[in-house]
Symmetry: D3
Subunit: 144 residues, 6 copies
């Protein structure tokens, strides 16, 4: 997960946002995409402002990892997605799904990427697969 | 976790169910057993309807895994439970606890199975052990 | 995570506590520190009352693990914290952060400990790092 | 894995044993069953002689975990086997296979237990499945 | 890892092969690529001949997972490689590197794929990264 | 694991070293400390010479992580050790044990650090604990 905030989703913070509701930390899949983005942005600021050199460099390196090189951005986001799925991190999956949507990955491509993660990682991945599919459908609704 | 919906728990969707409350995805242990079952059933339908051959076959294979063979169903569900606990997946633990309840596994048997998972997996398993015990007690109340 | 309840946080259960709200199990980071402490205390009692010898001895051993010996308590809590972070257990991180606060670990020490966990465990740790930092700031506010 | 040495396999240390070949530590599956048993026995002695209270109690608790209770020994060894497989520890798998052989678990039962671990843990488990099957066949040859 | 044997590597079993040396199971990275391929082929036969329905279907499904669909074969093998790296399975990494070599993935593409796995999985991945790079160089020498 | 080569251990490469024996990659614990150090040094050179920006920066950051700051070097190496143990990476454990020896950590301190990892990570850690203790004893013999 790169610390960069996904561009599209931040546009319209509403009255129901995490910040306004106080200190409830959105997390995993119990939260809306908007709450996730808000919490992520607020904490990234708090972490980077602390000035811990190792952490700040890691965050910068993480962003750099997904830039185009020998492989294009879309392929790298798919790599980030499958790695996040087999390691079973819902927040990381949500982040890479958001980036995949921005890179115009199609629904069948997402499902094939998830199918690799499912077979490699096994049935223990299924609850995360469900949340990933639910999130992707949410992203499709948001962009239509 | 097999994709088959546990039989007993689906009977009476109420006004507080996930579907009626909108797109809030129940997950982990913040949700009631009913919300978990509803979300699981809804997403299984969405995933299987997509028609990805690998995912659909995996789901079918997952169901088949726990059928009686050289080992009986009860033993296999206990195997699924301990594997889910050491891999620390609350949703998978909830599913296998539900199936164990249907197979009439007793409370002391559940605790012994969980104790194996605790010793193999270590103290990092304890938060999942707490949620497992809380869920089991909920299942006992539902069946009494 | 030791089964011992952190001393400071239990003092004033309020009307919003998990117990009074019914059977909603607080978990991970969606919950307040107070809800986490209440749920943890209630389930520890339920688990220990079951009388499973292996589980009860494991809980006792877990507490003993963090007592002073060749290494002091503060160092051992930092070890527990980094182990919890790389294994990505929010509840365990919360517990050890609470204990670190009691042992007067400073904010820069916490960040350095977290930075080791981040580099060892990789970007998959970042969502847990965010929740850890958010929790630490909450603990600082509570103690000021 | 309990620290107790499997009874049957220790009988005839030969000239090719690890101890006699010097300090080469047998491990994983590159070693014969005999080398594994020798290294395990030698290091258990070294560890327990150190007198670290927490470690020694953990080893005692680990042995106790697989004793008969609400579940019989055979079922508990199968639980230990599947947990070891999904956590992908060849040494732990070897240990529980040895104990399963002592408890007269059949080859079809072993394969069903491994099949649960394969489906729960995914294709990443396959290399460990291969070594488990190879080890089981070795155990069958030794007992015939 | 699909159970299909990589085509190119099986051609010339030599006198030093695992089968001829007896029961020493090649594994991880202590073995030559040839020994790995031989052991893998021999055990796949033993496993499939057992006739466990769930295991056999899983192996068939695993092969199917990497066939061309919405994503091409090369992309899917890169997904398999990064998933294997973050889950830290040397055998699985070796398999997917072999397949990537067959699909004419370039050295810079391999390094970018590995860099994603390194950042996602952290420094704990480094020993596997070393063995992956060593294996890739071996594959380059074999194909030149 | 930082990519920096431990200073003390490189002094006397002998005729039995990995480089001279050809392309056999030392790994895990089947190898001597010397073989591990040689393989590590050779592959670090090969990896860094490739010029992949992300990987090279990660290696530099990894070294930086264990430098003195709010926490001293010894404490940070103990953090690296326990993180490596619970994530069950023998090579990483070997590296941090080597660094701990250089920082004059005592045997009882090592055992207490390992005991935390054992309790947090569970019995699945035991095979790695054995190899860690065997390695530590080897380091003590080398320094005496």
């Amino acid at each position: 997960m790169t610390p960069k905030t996904p561009k599209r989703k931040q546009a319209k913070p509403t009255a129901s946002s995490a910040v306004e509701r106080g200190d409830k930390a959105p997390h995993e899949h119990n939260t809306s995409l908007e709450d996730f983005v808000q919490f992520r942005a607020r904490l990234n600021v708090e972490i980077l402002n602390e000035g811990n050199l190792v952490i700040n460099r890691f965050f910068a390196l993480d962003t750099r990892t997904y830039e185009a090189g020998a492989l294009d951005v879309k392929t790298k986001e798919l790599l980030g997605l499958v790695a996040s799925l087999v390691l079973r991190c819902d927040d990381c999956v949500t982040y890479h799904l958001t980036r995949c949507a921005e890179e115009r990955v199609t629904r069948p491509e997402i499902f094939e990427c998830l199918s690799v993660g499912l077979v490699v990682g096994g049935s223990i991945v299924i609850p995360h697969l469900r949340r990933a599919v639910d999130r992707w459908s949410e992203l499709e609704r948001l962009s239509s």
